[in-house]
């Protein structure tokens, strides 16, 4: 093999890469937290008795789940700027990711809610819990606990997908890498380095979610057994 690897040129830019990684972490964190709230609200909306709300949420979920994130962000960012609405790129990127992940979170949480046994609701009624109490303790928390593994893998996928935001100009990990690429021309080395950094980020994220799960779901029982 004649190719001379030159990682030094890439690794010399480590402060930039670190900065990019930090932007990726911030983007993913914001999108995960806001997207979770949006998704939970939508899951409730999709089960509501109000017709237009149910219909509207379904339309949102189907539209988002059947079109690519890239087109959604182009539509949002370039579309809004064409009618004169501009925003800081981080706000735009976060918005695009939130709109995207909200639809997936909604579907996952809805599946969790549907798996709650009717008897649980009746039991809560018998105990005289208020509707809010029933919703929080009997519906939402057990539902989220049950779908926690699929939720977390969806959020890790979101972090990896945040690399797409470089195409609308976000200076996250991949955006920074593109910049280094045009300075050094070490394309392959850059992608190898990126590979390692993204892998590390995704493992840290998985570990973080595992810890969070231990902390939030304090009832000790094996996941997957009936609640």
């Amino acid at each position: 093999m004649k190719y001379q690897f030159d990682f030094a040129a890439v690794l010399a830019q480590w402060p930039l890469l670190l900065e990019g990684a930090w932007v990726t972490v911030q983007l993913s964190f914001l999108a995960t937290v806001i997207g979770f709230v949006l998704g939970a609200l939508c899951a409730v909306g999709r089960n509501s008795k109000v017709g237009w709300l149910r219909w509207g949420v379904s339309a949102y979920v189907e539209a988002i789940r059947n079109t690519p994130l890239l087109i959604q962000s182009y539509f949002l960012i370039f579309g809004l700027s064409s009618i004169g609405i501009t925003m800081p790129i981080m706000v735009g990127a976060t918005l695009a990711l939130v709109i995207n992940i909200g639809a997936y979170t909604c579907e996952i949480i809805r599946a969790g809610i549907e798996s709650i046994h009717k008897g649980q609701l009746e039991a809560a009624d018998c105990l005289g819990m208020s509707p809010v109490q029933v919703f929080w303790h009997v519906i939402l928390r057990p539902a989220v606990e049950r779908v926690y593994p699929s939720l977390t893998s969806q959020f890790v996928l979101l972090m990896l997908a945040s690399s797409i935001m470089s195409s609308i100009g976000a200076e996250e990990l991949l955006g920074i890498a593109n910049r280094i690429q045009s300075d050094t021309f070490r394309n392959f080395e850059i992608f190898l380095v990126l590979w390692v950094v993204y892998l590390a980020l995704s493992y840290m994220m998985r570990a973080g979610f595992w810890l969070l799960g231990q902390f939030v779901f304090t009832r000790r029982r094996k996941l997957g057994t009936p609640l």
Binding site: M1, K2, Y3, E62, A63, R65, N66, T67, P68, L69, L70, I71, Q72, Y74, F75, F78, G79, S81, S82, V156, L160, A161, S163, I164, S166, S167, L174, N187, F188, I190, F191, L192, L194, W195, Y198, L199, S202, Y203
Partner: protein, 215 residues
Amino acid sequence: MTREQATFLFMGMLGTLALSVLTFVGGGLTGLAVALARIAPMRGVRMAATAWIQVVQGTPLLVLMGLCFYGPSIVGIGSMPALIAAALAMTIYSSAFLGEIWRGCIQSVHKSQWEAAECIGLTRWQRMQKIVLPQALRIATPPTVGFMVQIIKNTSIASLVIGFAELSYNAKVLNNSTFQPFIYFGCAALMYFAMCYPLSRWSRTLERKLNASRG
């Protein structure tokens, strides 16, 4: 939108479909290999397959695209045609996800079926081929159709690193020259929707139908 512009978008759609089909064939074959390796009798093979899935699922598709696009030229294969590089990256990506989906399906075939096949003296390969896989196929159809939607959507980023002219790339070219993002990206979104939504619906129908007949 003029006639030429509409044709240009449809050409992009053809590119998207071509890449999706290539990915599905490549990802399907490698995915099956990964799924079988995940449940292989040899511990080393199982661990290698697990590692493969872990690593690929922890990598953004865009990074895989970069590695597949720039990688072959440094080992002396020369420059890759865009379609092949994109299909290679997406095959690697899909092999991990399809492998994990299908592993689950194979293992959800009831244990007594495996035991019965063993009792009538079938070899491991016969057991797989005659008893387990036909039943797993039934369970695997809905999630596989669902994953085809992911493949179609993911082809959209093939243009970012590799420059393969698919639907979102062509839409962006049109927007760059006319600056009417709502029209072109709206049309592109509708075209993706037209490709994906029928598959999503089909997957859901299959899920209901196949479940009912199993239960």
